[in-house]
């Protein structure tokens, strides 16, 4: 075994050399900082931890391959508690104390809406998985992209699906969210066009019982109920709908009506036949396989796939710009995400190609990741499922 002697003199010399080196070189040696701000607790709690984990795996791979711009990447992970107040506090810390170039993974639309202004004012780039239309309509000056289809697209697709199932009297039960109004407006128009009727109510997502709300809904004799809440309230809502003896169809978001909800209700007949739909990750893709490996999950959720893509895109945009700032990401993210070039599906390959001067076009685990000028994704698939015997069975991906 060889021992490397590192005497006092050598230490002194290297210390002096470090101090004497130009400031810019020392700055280069500082790590590139990016952050995740995901819901580790609250309604998004089932998703946030895996989202943070997958971002860390991207950073780890990139660091193992030499980092970005010759610098190590450091990931800071904070908890937004699925709560705008906590989200803003955490974002302030990430921006003011950690001075990160990008924040990734805000989940609830309310949190993203609250955090976005801090980001564009401080020229920090924000990647989000929230769906509310209003988010990309904010004056974000380009400092925001989202990989989740906006609610207009989501509600339109779900409405079309409900109509295709033969529903004509649809009742929407939804908590107060930034996409509540869009949902009512859009569903109203869609259903009216098909000759049906649409009604709905907004409920408080912190109640422990929805008996009165369910009574209100059932009085309109709906043939389909659109349960558009989050998991904790939807558990209560579905139980109360079952107790009330509703015989029609039920549909809800995939992020809310998931295996956790089924396990928690614990009685398959309560959720038998319930439909769900969700933006689908690109399940055949190689990037999706990488996410599977990184998370150890057989079927990683769409948000985890999206955060994998956030981290990859942000790091590649920095390499493309040769600068590790939020502005650089803003100006370069579309140069690595779309517009042709070498097809890449992960950050390490992308960084290598960019460093060698090639143009790249990233397609990730969540889909092609092409953005329009407002920051919305252009294309995305949806996955429709139905619960049968307590298991989710695929209806179609379209």
């Amino acid at each position: 075994m060889t021992r490397i002697a590192f005497g006092r003199r050598a230490a002194l010399v290297s210390g002096v050399a470090a101090v004497a080196a130009p400031a810019i070189l020392r700055a280069q040696a500082e790590p590139v900082k990016i952050a995740t701000l995901t819901p580790l607790t609250g309604a998004g709690g089932p998703y946030g931890p895996v989202m943070a984990k997958v971002a860390a795996s991207v950073v780890e791979e990139v660091n193992a391959a030499g980092g970005v711009l010759g610098r190590k990447v450091q990931l800071v992970s904070e908890d937004d508690q699925t709560n705008p107040d906590a989200g803003v506090r955490a974002a302030r810390k990430l921006i003011d104390v950690d001075k990160v170039a990008a924040i990734m993974g805000t989940w609830a639309s309310s949190v993203t809406t609250a955090v976005a202004p801090l980001c564009w004012e401080s020229k920090t780039f924000l990647c989000t998985v929230s769906g509310a239309d209003s988010i990309t309509q904010l004056p974000h000056q380009g400092f925001l992209v989202r990989t989740q289809p906006n609610s207009t697209l989501q509600v339109a697709r779900s409405g079309e699906f409900m109509l295709s199932l033969g529903a004509r009297k649809i009742y929407t039960m939804i908590p107060q969210t930034p996409f509540t109004q869009t949902t009512f407006d859009l569903m109203g128009k869609l259903v009216a066009k098909a000759g049906g009727t649409h009604q709905g109510l907004v409920y408080d997502d912190k109640k422990t019982t929805y008996r009165t709300e369910v009574d209100q809904a059932l009085r309109t004799n709906p043939d389909m109920i659109f349960a558009a809440g989050y998991t904790p309230d939807t558990v209560v809502l579905l139980k109360d709908i079952y107790r009330a003896g509703f015989k029609g169809k039920i549909i809800g978001f995939g992020y809310s009506i998931n295996q956790k909800l089924v396990d928690q209700i614990g009685q398959p007949e309560v959720v038998e036949g319930v439909y769900t739909y969700s933006p689908s990750p690109d399940e055949g893709s190689t990037a999706y396989e990488r996410v599977k490996k990184a998370t150890g999950l057989a079927r990683p959720d769409p948000y985890t796939c999206q955060v994998y893509d956030h981290a990859s895109l942000v790091l590649m945009a920095m390499e493309q710009a040769k600068v590790a700032t939020g502005v650089a990401i803003k100006d370069n993210i579309r140069k690595v995400s779309q517009g042709g070039g070498k097809a890449v599906d992960n950050a390490v390959d992308g960084l290598k190609a960019i460093a060698s001067g090639q143009k790249v076009d990233y397609s990730g685990a969540s889909g092609p990741c092409d953005f329009d000028d407002k920051g919305d994704i252009i294309d995305c698939k949806f996955r429709y499922e139905q619960i049968k015997g307590g298991k989710f069975t695929l209806v179609k991906i379209a």
């Binding site: 609250g42 907004v202 422990t208 009165t212 009574d215 139980k239 079952y242 107790r243």
Partner: protein
């Protein structure tokens, strides 16, 4: 009309469940003289203790007993170590400390169980229709248990030595001490029983819905509003207050929509403090 009647029934059911923790809260206030906001964490803890016991097939009653014992013991521990030493400086420091204890407890539960939702593995049955009104057999069962617990508490307060001592101590601590009632012992007892009731309340409310670390936080305002409305320090008042808050919350759904439900609690507190600071059945304003 039947919609209103149904809302009334629903409100009474949730009010009955709410009454159990409200009694605990108000009883502790009567003896310890500070609003103990750690009930949010204790209710969550009780719900999870009951959940674990129920999963270990203790049965419903056994699980309620476990919820009572665990919540009571932990609540008492926090009272002794964190809140009571501060009461001498006034009710406010103790109240603030209790908010902190609630957060600590909530996060301890989170540490042990994570954020996942959990449901008691109870059969979910279709409702029974009586004329135009729906009631769920489970709700009746839960309500029955809540009523039994309340009866036991009132009987305890009326007929047992320690119950009488608690009432005496709440009424006039100095006089009670002169009569040989040990105030410290009564305080500990009030804390244990009060917190135990809060734990039972957390479990009862979780039985029909689901539990997670925020279970207690969600009901904190309703508990507090019930106790204030009924008159802080009055157990009968707490029951009345809880029923009124329960009914008001359900009726508000019909009138202004359920997103404004939280406002009901605040509104009740505002009205009571303005018009009748001692509450409906309270004997004096604190």
């Amino acid at each position: 009309m039947s919609l209103v009647l149904q809302a009334l029934v629903n409100g009474l059911v949730s009010g009955t469940l709410l009454a159990v923790p409200a009694i605990g809260f108000t009883a502790m206030f009567a003896v310890l003289r500070f609003p103990n906001f750690s009930v949010s964490g204790v209710a969550t803890l009780g719900a999870f203790a009951g959940y674990v016991a129920y999963a270990a097939s203790f049965g419903l009653v056994g699980s309620l007993a476990v919820a009572f014992a665990v919540a009571g013991a932990v609540g008492l521990f926090f009272d002794r170590t964190a809140h009571l030493p501060l009461v001498r400086q006034g009710a406010l420091p103790a109240a603030i400390a209790s908010i902190a204890s609630g957060l600590v407890l909530e996060n301890l539960v989170r540490l042990g169980f994570g954020n996942d939702l959990r449901g008691f593995d109870r059969p979910i049955a279709r409702d029974i229709h009586i004329a135009d009104i729906r009631v769920s057999p489970q709700q009746l069962e839960t309500m029955g248990m809540a009523l039994a617990v309340m009866l036991a508490v009132f009987a305890g307060l009326a007929f047992t030595r320690i119950g009488k001592a608690m009432r005496a101590s709440a009424d006039n601590p100095e006089l009670a001490a002169l009569k040989g009632i040990r105030p410290r012992r009564v305080a500990m007892m009030a804390s244990f029983v009060g917190m135990g009731l809060v734990g039972i309340g957390g479990m009862l409310l979780g039985l029909d819905s689901s539990i997670d670390p925020l279970t207690g936080t969600r009901i904190l305002l309703s508990i507090f509003a019930s106790a204030v409305l009924g008159g802080l320090g009055s157990p009968t008042g707490a029951v009345l207050g809880a029923c009124l808050i329960g009914v008001a919350e359900e009726l508000s759904v019909l009138v202004v929509g359920s997103p404004y439900r939280t406002a009901v609690g605040f509104f009740a507190i505002l009205i009571v403090l303005t018009l009748r600071p001692r509450g409906l059945l309270g004997e004096r304003a604190f």
